[in-house]
Amino acid sequence: MLGKLLKYEFKATGRTFLPMYALLIAFALLNKIFITINADYLRIPQVIAMVGFVVIIAGISVMTLIVTIQRFNKNLLTDEGYLSFTLPVKTHTHIDCKMIVSAVWCLASFIMSAISIFILALDQSTLYKTRRFFEDIGSTLNQLGPGAYLIILECILFVAVALLASITNIYAAITVGNLSSKHKLLAGLGAYFGFGMVQQIVVSILMTVFFSGFDNYMEYLTTAGAWEQMRAVQLGLLVMLLYTAVFGAIFYFLTEWLLRKKLNLE
């Protein structure tokens, strides 16, 4: 059932994203042409094209966020929810589907923006520099050995988990907001900031409890060897990864539980 849901979710959201990506690439190429010609009589259209490009890039990031919110809210908690929740599908499958699709579009928006900027900057020297950049990274990694690859892996995992956790954070806020019968938007925003505050408090408590140890450790690290420092980075990333994963999971299960047990569509 997840596969079928994903199919329709990609169809429903692709209608918004794909034309925007096409427009983004078109504007990047247009700008590239203006930059290549670089003629005085084309200055005004060139500036307009550049402003358009920047607006589209900004628009795509805003839209990614809005679609994340709007698909969850509209498709599950308004009139369309009457269809979604009468499909023979488990509640968590709906959340999984929305979450995966949002994460994919978020990633796609990032990659498309990067590609468009790369198109703009493309010439002999940038190609060379990009290659050098990756070569440098490769040689540094080789020098540092397998521990460095672990750090890279942790970074990738952390970005993935942080992305999913921020999506479930939004879903949990919308779902809590929906419990209010009159001020859903206000309650949702309140919930979102409330969650943020709870996280802040948890961080401060953890910091207070472990602070003296933490401080000593940092002191020690300044004089420690490369191997010790690498261990410290690995450990630090692992802690951040776990922290994000725990909060993400809490938001996920809270959303699932509320939608399963407390659903009240108007």
């Binding site: 199919k7 009457y82 269809l83 023979p88 599908v89």
Partner: protein, 232 residues
């Protein structure tokens, strides 16, 4: 006989309002039942509870002996009182959607009915009138070979000519084992298809009876009895 729908001490509170007050109800299989009551009497609330769109404040609602969930959603075909279709889709898209998710959906039946009611399957839902959307929705719902049909105000928005066709469709699509619950206040229109009626008022069941009993014992039509019971 096994009951397709059962309410046990079912209570539903909305903020500042008691929508259902300890409803006990057993609906047997294989009947067409009218759920009749004035506006705000709790008809829609019962139907939404049966679909799991809202959760009971206390008590239980059981479909074929199960609480609303994936298994009950497979056998319940629900027509809400609002349009729930994604308006960017065409009718063809919706038919694909329904046949993807419901194993008991019969495409052939759906296209047949669309043709009879003159709905163009390539049309986007966005460009349709409210009445046409309601027709499409009813066609989708009735094209499922379900065990329980829950139809909330199925004929409220369509013209009288289409009403007759829709009621005919409802009766002719209904198999021996299936149960249909129609909630409406347009009693005269649906009366002729009903086997049984449930009268509901202010969250309580007022009367359950077969239509034949009403006609024989009271010597009245359901419409007349309704007007009497709910006289303002």
């Amino acid at each position: 006989m096994e009951n397709i729908l059962e309410c046990r001490n079912l209570v539903k509170f909305y903020p500042n309002c008691l929508a259902l007050n300890t409803v006990n109800l057993a609906v047997p299989k294989g009947r067409i039942i009218g759920l009749l009551g004035p506006n705000g009497s709790g008809k829609t609330t019962i139907i939404k509870l049966a679909n799991g769109l809202i959760t009971p404040s206390s008590g239980q609602i059981l479909i074929n002996g199960m609480e609303p969930g994936v298994e009950t959603k497979k056998i319940v075909s629900y027509l809400p009182e609002r349009t729930y279709l994604n308006d960017w889709m065409t009718v063809n898209n919706m038919i694909d959607f329904f046949s993807d998710f419901y194993e008991n959906f019969n495409r052939h039946k759906a296209y047949d009915m669309l043709q009879r009611l003159g709905v163009n399957p390539t049309q986007r839902l966005k460009t349709m009138s409210k009445g046409t959307k309601e027709k499409v929705q009813l066609i989708l719902v009735m094209s499922r070979e379900a065990e329980l049909y829950l139809l909330d105000e199925p004929i409220g928005g369509v013209d009288p000519a289409a009403r007759d066709y829709i009621l005919d469709t409802i009766i002719s699509n209904y198999s021996e084992n299936a149960t249909i619950i129609i909630s409406t206040h347009l009693i005269a229109d649906v009366e002729k298809v009903l086997d049984e009626v449930i009268f509901i008022n202010q969250g309580s069941i007022v009367l359950t009876s077969t239509v034949d009993d009403i006609r024989e014992k009271e010597n009245k039509s359901v419409d007349a009895l309704f007007r009497e019971v709910f006289r303002c």
